[in-house]
């Protein structure tokens, strides 16, 4: 071991990892943060897209936490490797498409690889026993240690006293007496400790940080898989699931309809990849068409697109259709009435 013990902390941007990091820093350990970007992280994305959210102050909470603590933060792109976690979770999914236990094991494994490559001594997380139904149970915490390969190099400072002593504790790098015995879903102990440390500003405690825990997002993801020959995905696929209104009026094609200016601008970036529709005679959304479509399908999509523009009550709306080869076509359509949009089409 190096003279001063060195730990890497899995920093999510939430309160728990902030507290765990500070607790270990207070014991004289050199700590650096690590944050993994899976592509499903809520952090930053939607508020970068939607116009209304653009007005709000933006910050990446993991970076913000690192700065408050005065530590370096390594942000690691794991988009490609994460596919296997999501597509083949050994321990299955949670309430939605969230493979939480596999995800935690994966992240700890990546942190374990990182400490080996960077000559660090151990890993810390902000996990609290009993706080999460999948990954933070008494019976699953050892699974993460075992399957990640980190074993007893994984220290959970906030609930360490409920768990067997880890190597950093046994070796005396960390005093076990100064660690904690938090347990359960109550946030009161964390809030009290935050107050003790003087943390007055922190991200919503236990707030969801992953789109995969979101029911609506998960349904869109499953719909995408069901209508493709392969479950493989690209970053653009999973980004587009976060944006716009998604309608599938026919099994072989889906419409992604911008809901406001910010989303329209974002979808503009995909014009070259999708046949798309614009409302020409009125203000209206940009609509991407995902799938192979016939002339009848385009006509149907145009009537739906007209429904979501300012010409919704007009007799006729002019819709511009731009094909992948950039050929333009103008259609005059009657917008669908509200009751003609089948609820079954909504993804």
């Amino acid at each position: 071991m190096s003279t001063q013990a060195k730990a890497v902390s899995l920093v999510s941007g939430g309160l728990d990892s902030m507290l765990a990091t500070r607790a270990i820093m207070d014991q004289g350990i050199h700590v650096e943060g690590i944050n993994f970007f899976t592509g499903f992280c809520v952090e930053g994305h939607t508020h970068a897209i939607r116009q209304e959210d653009r007005q709000k102050p933006k910050r990446n909470n993991a970076l913000w936490v690192a700065e408050q603590l005065g530590i370096k933060l390594h942000i690691v792109d794991v988009i490609e490797e994460y596919k296997d976690v999501l597509l083949n979770p050994r321990h299955g999914y949670g309430q939605n498409m969230n493979p939480c236990l596999d995800c935690k094991g994966f992240m700890v494994r990546k942190a374990y690889e990182w400490i080996q490559q960077n000559d660090f001594d151990f890993i810390i997380t902000g996990e609290v026993l009993g706080q999460r139904p999948m990954s933070q149970r008494k019976d699953t915490m050892p699974v993460v240690q075992r399957e990640s390969g980190a074993g007893d190099l994984l220290l959970r400072p906030l609930c360490a006293k409920h768990l067997p002593p880890t190597l950093p504790e046994r070796e005396g790098w960390v005093e076990r007496d100064k660690l904690f015995a938090f347990n359960g879903r109550s946030r009161k102990p964390q809030m009290a400790l935050a107050q003790e440390y003087g943390f007055t500003d922190y991200a919503t405690p236990a707030g969801g940080c992953c789109f995969l825990t979101d029911k609506a997002y998960s349904e869109k993801l499953v719909d995408m898989w069901q209508h493709r020959s392969s479950r493989d995905y690209q970053l653009d696929d999973i980004m587009l699931l976060k944006v716009g209104r998604h309608l599938r009026p026919r099994p072989h094609f889906k419409m992604i309809i911008s809901r406001e200016e910010g989303e329209g601008k974002f979808l503009e970036g995909y014009r070259k990849q999708f046949l798309h529709l614009r409302t020409h005679s009125h203000a209206g959304p940009l609509v991407l068409i995902d799938g192979e479509v016939s002339d009848d399908d385009i006509h149907l999509a145009a009537r739906i697109a007209a429904r979501y523009g300012q010409g919704r009550d007009a007799e006729q709306v002019e819709i511009e259709v731009i094909a992948l080869d950039e050929q333009h076509q103008m259609l005059q359509v009657r917008p669908f009435g509200q009751d003609e949009i089948s609820p079954k089409w909504r993804v």
Partner: protein
């Protein structure tokens, strides 16, 4: 105008990807060299300066025009961390 040693096109990428790409670029650069980043996600206005502050680099300038944000980063010291995981 200051010399630019490397360019990074991070347009259309949403945070934290512009930060990750800047981090990866800087990992291969030397002290005193300059990285020019062009991005469209307004999140970079906070995130790249924050990343630079905690990792010991300097944002020399940040300009915004026509929905594009251009940052010039000077790589400082030996602070570029060892990013091995990409």
């Amino acid at each position: 105008m200051a010399r630019i040693d490397r360019e990074l096109d991070a347009r259309r990428l949403l945070c934290p990807l512009p930060v990750i790409r800047a981090q990866d670029a800087i990992a291969d650069m030397r002290s005193g060299e300059r990285l020019r980043v062009v991005a469209t996600d307004p999140g970079v206005k906070n995130d790249i300066p924050a990343w630079c502050r905690i990792n010991g680099h300097k944002v020399e300038s940040m300009d915004e025009r026509d929905d594009e944000i251009v940052l010039i980063i000077e790589v400082e010291g030996f602070g570029a961390p060892a990013f091995t995981d990409h």
